[in-house]
Symmetry: C2
Subunit: 618 residues, 2 copies
């Protein structure tokens, strides 16, 4: 599949956009007119630069306000078109995008439009170029792809074809199946964009909120499959107007865009299955859901207070790595690696997560095929080889087998001071009842400008599914939170974006990361943790008064919750008990108990938690 | 008029919100339940704190999901209400807000709702409190204020009244005139919010985009006048859910909120005119449109390059101030003060603007009544006394009379090195033809979190009207630009908000400020400036090719534009010619010619300008 990207997707100068598109591996680009108008290079210089970079210039866009107009306006439109066709000659571009008329059309007359398209087609043919007619979702008289195609078919001109744009079809709730009825060679251009489901006017939605395929709510693989079934043979291009992408690092955005097309190609190939498309669609190494979290690594300086929290929660110190200065703590299937290494941010952070996958080598190969940067890792010849890549937020993602072979590399050495502390505080004599402890979820602070990239990364690389995002009120603004999870819930990551002022102030609130462990009996667990001296996050008395009003809980349960600083929630399926530890640096821990299939995260309690954490800092 | 504010409008802890509301001069607050639930203080402590601060606690809100439900749910609702009524007793609050049912209502039966409201009224009366029933715009069965009032009237219970909320009425396009038909003593609560006209789902609009009165698109003075005519005697409260206000400085937001109510009160009093309301509405000193810009002051270090630009533009050096180290440059009515003083930001900035007003003393008194901070200014006994306040973006706003008496304080002293340079470069022998040069507009970079505050400030203090905002593409993202202008266009300020990455990077692009001067013959002006050696901002050749395609300009005009780096635009009324100087530090200058009533700012050219400026920095 030939890949292309409109320059409007990217930030910076036209030259920077071309270089980034080439570096990310795109075959071609669409030149967005304002980018050329503002560029200091001549059209000939742009043409030469693209040739040097190995990029084809696939499309010149957009041309507007042409058809459905009276004669005088038509003549002016043809004059404008002639100037652009001459410019395209200088650029070496053979196709121009014509958007259905929004501003100047006054005549709702298909016969007239067909005639005017033919006039434009004749002029284009004279210049050796062609025109792709696209129905904008808000076009004055032509706003559906079916209508645009009817007009193109009736024009029956070799230089006039149509353009299929997923945004303009799906934003109107259009049915893309009709694409299969279009002759593939009359589809001159395909532009793809995904979008979140927003309830707003379609023009604002289009101009500000488009995202790359796989980052929104639409089924782009199914959409592309329709095009393949129509025997479309041309490039598949991205046209994404997005306020964030327009201002963020251009190389990074180009890689993100390319990842979306690689993912889309793979998914579309899977959909087409035994009915291969005429265009060869490259596939990726297969992915299956991760079956659990193997470990979480906390990295930073002065991590002893984190280890104190772990000890108080009942974790056991399992020793130091044989060649690295990292320590392992275990509680059943929950494993935390403590790595005393300075971080870039200067604060302790969840630096790595190990996911248990079916075939770590295959997962790593898939991640690399999706452009994920490999994490360089030194390992001795006799050690377990762990494959890792870096997620957009900087977290290292390790692909682990279910064998946990790496654990054997940790041992307690003679005179280990951490182990000496252990016998004092750990209460290993009390076995936990019921199912085993494990990591329930990990909350990761996300840079605001990498939300979409992070979402696509986790869904494409790890097969995690995005859940609906929600806003949680903190005393310093709304924190946006979105959970990515495996189908069975064995792996859950909550991606949190702190409000801008919090990020700017570096206040930490909302920027903290945390790890939640599941346990079978939270009340007993909390009592033992209290005995061991755990510092709980204190919960306001008013919370329990409100809880009582909301849920009519038995007085003794309410008293226990209040005494132990436990939080409570309920959904249609069951109940949720949880508590938080005090924050150490920028990390805190949570313990949860899911009862009868409760599937949330205690979101109604998050504002109470955030207020208590804010008060603790003030 | 008694003023009140819901704690949800403000950021921080409940205690910080109460202190900020009191400091801003509010009479009371509404307690937003989640703020209390998260607070470490007991209800009794909050009550005591409010009393110490002189704040009344006007409302406890919100109570939800009560009416239109089957019997079992009703009993649970009454149980929940009892707990809240008891809590209100501890807080000393006598009114609770009941929102029309969104989530649990299953019975669309007015008779039933009336009966259930009576049950709630009986329970409230037992606790010595009362309930204000509010129609949410998205209520399941009750979504208009007329319907809520019919139900309240039929319930006919002394403890049951209604709540009038401007958002829920105006967001649905409701007609607020019917408010006058409600008995004033049955309106228990009034909540006001303004909002920009957004085309999105009303729930998202409500939860994220409300603003204070005067900051949005609605006519809140007319709205409040209806309440006054209904003989409403209670407090007027602000309930504004706004993502920005939730995270920004709480004291500042509270002052902004109070300013909005002072402005609203004044405007409402003017509307009621000879029919005074039963509630005394305080008025402000009168304001009239400013008639021009008296001067613009550029402050910073190493401003000689700015003076070189001015000299090349034909400005004349008019001397140094007799007691201050500031210099004056003049070109007819355009006056620039150069103040060599370090700025907070460390870069040259438009630090002050003098506006010519009818009565500077009265304008200053009005600004101070609106809570504008006074700018401390030393002046000698024999100098013109200039009144100044500080705008939200930090710009000093001076109120000047048309006499320009202060100019006499500037003179050229013997041996002044600036004056020595003057005779070399200035071309004072060529008088400009036609009308006189003056400041056409000033563009000010705005902190993103102070847009609404800045808008209300300029409209309330200076009577400038907001124009529709638009987004301008720069190579580093979209710049939001909104013009505030006097009715006749004599004063125009463009408020620009740079995209987040630009602000963060401190790249300067989009953060620059500039001053535009009008002239009667731009081409001649540009030629003279070129002769004097002015550094123009270079414009790409591609721009002129595109201009030719768009406008079919005569070849000689196009050639002149291209030769001189001039830009061109056209609107329904006329034409616009303009050019930019090179940027010095973070300031640049523009010269414009408006032909035949052109009323814009060359917005289509802004991306070309931004790209050229970006290239100049790269």
């Amino acid at each position: 599949m030939r890949t292309s990207i409109a320059t409007v997707c990217l930030s910076g100068t036209l030259e920077a956009k071309l270089r980034a598109a080439a570096a990310a591996g795109f075959d071609g680009v669409e030149i967005f007119e304002p980018d050329l108008v503002a560029a200091p290079q001549s059209p000939e210089q742009i043409r030469e630069l693209a040739a040097q970079l190995g990029l084809s210039l696939d499309l010149y866009q957009p041309f507007r306000d042409f058809e459905g107009v009276p004669q005088a306006d038509l003549e002016n439109g043809l004059r404008r078109a002639r100037a652009k066709f001459e410019l395209m000659g200088r650029l070496g571009i053979d196709t121009m995008l014509l958007c259905s008329n929004v501003g100047t059309a006054t005549l709702d007359d298909d016969d007239l439009v067909v005639e005017q398209l033919r006039r434009l087609g004749d002029l284009a043919a004279d210049h050796g170029v062609r025109v792709a007619y696209e129905a904008l979702a808000w076009g004055r008289y032509v706003s559906t792809y079916e209508h645009a195609w009817r007009l193109v078919r009736r024009a029956d001109h070799p230089a006039i074809g149509t353009c299929i744009d997923s945004f303009h079809i799906l934003s109107r709730g259009g049915d893309p199946r009709g694409i299969e009825d279009i002759r593939g060679d009359k589809i001159f251009v395909v532009q793809l964009a995904d979008a979140p489901l927003l309830s707003m006017d379609v023009l604002s939605w289009s101009r500000h909120h488009r995202v790359f395929p796989g980052q929104g709510a639409w089924d782009l693989p199914a959409f592309l499959a329709h095009l393949m079934r129509a025997d479309y043979l041309g490039p598949v291009s991205l046209e994404v107007f997005n306020d964030t992408f327009r201002q963020t690092d251009v190389e990074r955005t180009a890689l993100d865009a390319m990842r979306s097309l690689r993912w889309l190609e793979d998914r579309t190939a899977a959909l087409l299955g035994a009915n291969p498309a005429p265009v060869h669609l490259a596939t990726l190494p297969r992915v299956e859901d991760p079956t659990g979290v193997d470990f979480v690594e906390i990295r930073g300086e002065h991590l002893e207070p984190v280890e104190t929290l772990l000890r108080c929660l009942g974790f056991t110190y399992a020793g130091t790595h044989r060649t690295k200065d990292v320590r392992l703590w275990e509680l059943d299937e929950a494993r935390i690696i403590i790595n005393e290494t300075p971080t870039d941010s200067g604060r302790p952070a969840v630096a790595a997560i190990g996911f248990i996958v079916d075939d770590p080598q295959r997962s790593a190969a898939r991640a690399q095929a999706l452009g994920a940067p490999v994490v360089a890792r030194r390992s001795q010849a006799d050690e377990a080889v762990l494959q890792a890549v870096r997620a957009p937020d900087g977290t290292e993602v390790f692909f682990c087998s279910s064998s946990n072979a790496w654990i054997a590399e940790f041992a307690i050495k003679d005179g280990d001071p951490v182990a000496a502390g252990q016998t004092d505080a750990a209460d290993t004599s009390v076995p936990e009842a019921g199912s085993r402890h494990r990591v329930d979820h990990v909350n990761l602070d996300q840079p605001w400008q990498r939300q979409e990239e992070g979402l696509l990364f986790l869904s494409a690389v790890l097969s995690l599914d995005p859940q609906p995002s929600l806003d949680v009120a903190s005393p310093l603004g709304l924190v946006r939170s979105q959970v990515m999870r495996s189908h069975d819930g064995a792996v859950r990551l909550a991606l949190n974006v702190a409000p801008p002022m919090v990020r700017r102030a570096g206040s930490g609130l909302g920027q903290v990361q945390h790890i939640a462990f599941s346990c079978p009996d939270l009340i007993a667990f909390a009592r033992r943790a209290r005995t061991r001296g755990l510092k709980f996050l204190g919960v306001s008395d008013n919370y329990y008064d409100d809880l009582s009003a909301r849920f009519d809980l038995p007085a003794d349960l309410l008293g226990t919750l209040r005494d132990l600083d436990l939080l409570y929630d309920r959904d249609d399926r069951g109940e949720f008990l949880h508590f938080y530890t005090a924050t150490v640096g920028e990390v805190f821990l949570e313990v949860v108990q899911r009862i009868d299939g409760y599937d949330g995260y205690g979101a109604p309690n998050a504002p109470v938690r955030l207020a208590a954490q804010h008060a603790g800092r003030a």
